[in-house]
Subunit: 369 residues, 2 copies
Amino acid sequence: MKLVFQKADLLKSVNIVMKAVPSRTTMPILECILIDASAGVIKFTSNDMELGIETIVSGMIIEKGIIAIDAKILSEIVRRLPDADVTISTDANYVASITCGKAKFSIPGKSGEDFAYLPLIEKNECLTLSQFTLKELIRQTIFSIAANENNQLMTGELFEIRDNILKVVSLDGHRIAIRKIELSGTYSDRKVVVPGKTLNEISKILQGDMDKQVSVFFSDNHVIFEFDDTVVVSRLIEGEYFRVDQMLSSDYETKVTVNKKEFLECIDRSTLLVKEGDKKPIIIEINDTMMELQINSAIGSMKEDIDISKSGKDILIGFNPKFLIDALKVIDDEEITIYLVNSKAPCFIKDEKESYIYLILPVNINVSR
Amino acid sequence: MKLVFQKADLLKSVNIVMKAVPSRTTMPILECILIDASAGVIKFTSNDMELGIETIVSGMIIEKGIIAIDAKILSEIVRRLPDADVTISTDANYVASITCGKAKFSIPGKSGEDFAYLPLIEKNECLTLSQFTLKELIRQTIFSIAANENNQLMTGELFEIRDNILKVVSLDGHRIAIRKIELSGTYSDRKVVVPGKTLNEISKILQGDMDKQVSVFFSDNHVIFEFDDTVVVSRLIEGEYFRVDQMLSSDYETKVTVNKKEFLECIDRSTLLVKEGDKKPIIIEINDTMMELQINSAIGSMKEDIDISKSGKDILIGFNPKFLIDALKVIDDEEITIYLVNSKAPCFIKDEKESYIYLILPVNINVSR
């Protein structure tokens, strides 16, 4: 095999497929990138058995062939090559030579015979989104998936299409994040749970252009994302997702409108008095025109007032400040509205159209203080 | 005590004195910044008993006083305050209130009675340098001090004034870095060893302006740096520094001139084949017009030619690539000249005026390969 690339093309493609190279595996072949130039195109593939990525690479095929090369070494070499044409060639013993300018690297490769190719999946109805929209949907919800795998469904996100609306939901038992967008086009109803890891990696690869599209296909067990010259295939998480609608409610006793930036900066300041792992709540006291935020910890105390406009009852309630920060960070509105019932019931941060809903459970506070 | 600062002034000064706050100490008072507004100015002091920093802070004294406040907490609070006036006030129980806009922090402070003030040192002859020059001198030599303290003198740098030339020397047993500058003015001869830690911290505080000065004073046991509104006092390392002149030699068998950037990038590429802690040398073979660099490791091999101009014998020699990289990174010349004797003797990278000399010991290589 002998291939010639421009360094920038090679680097871009290696970076894309790196996202599905497992850091630890019992199958050493999966630590490789498969370079397949046996047909008319050059294709790079990686696969950690949950997530697989294939990308077509711009380059010249001087001699056809296939080889699997250790992904980490290939990536480090390519990164440090000078900005010139890069030649990758192999000999009969699967030793790969990477030459660029006067530099020549030799590294042992593998035949690629035992490489795990991506599953072949029948593509049916295709959901089309802009790269920007998909990337935003992920960013605005991914933080509230659960980190540990006690409940596998919580480590993924629900993607639900109903009545041509796409709803993305994540929850971890303490909070729920929901984003909705109207789809242009007609789609059949559909419900799948996509692994959080897949969404994280996809979001890193997507350039996030408004005018570039992603095509999404769902099968019973897989989801496929196609964009630019890249295909990402991921397993879905099996099982029935939580009935989120039952947890939502439109009743409230207190409704507060506040400047988002001011609210976020204030909570952010308060957290410096809380040591990692220490679960000090931020205490929020809502009066007619003012919200008083307060935190007391072993380090010291902090108090700050924020102007609000409010309707309904006064209330005293405590929250994990991190949960508020996570939600506020991904809301683009200048003013946000918070709906509260009582000090034991979840609060909702949502807009009028409910294009976003962030539900956060309160923390028990000693009201006497 | 009651003081009012602009946030930017306060933040700048806190950042400066933070550099001498010890991360671990048996004297908790040293984890504090001493805020002294007992006289007509506001002065912040920190001291880890090796290194002490005092800086005058712009601010308004509404009520005089002294307090010691935990440095880390103060620094984190100040960093996150909004961009407005900050008031620091204390009550009779040494509780400090920090208010800014509507935010109010309360944190416990200390009287500062048992704070270790900086030693009073008689200032005699003053060495004046631009901030830029001092910062550069440190950057260009600090990497070759020894990290471990087996030999304390190796953890510092020699500052030697002789015949109105300032020479800065560092060495770690495998290499030597020397920088010389001519001083404008007349100075008495002098030799001191300044702790590497002090130089590292000074270099972070110095803004590095060409047109701002640093005044340096030496006593028998201390060095003082004065610049802007800041005074840094450090102990010196005691003992007789190594006789570096005996290790230098102007004899050579091979003299090579090479493009610095090309040489550096090539060595940098080669190091990716060397795992951390693995001591693979880079093998350099010098012929009449070409230098061949080669590295062989468990990961793979790399070979690259670089054009050179050479006089003297051909030579095959091995080096720790990191030592070459460290020296090349801080040389600003486009072309560098390397002087070699044989494969067991140190090489010298130096300019004609010897304003810099980098000596690097070779590594034993199996010449048969």
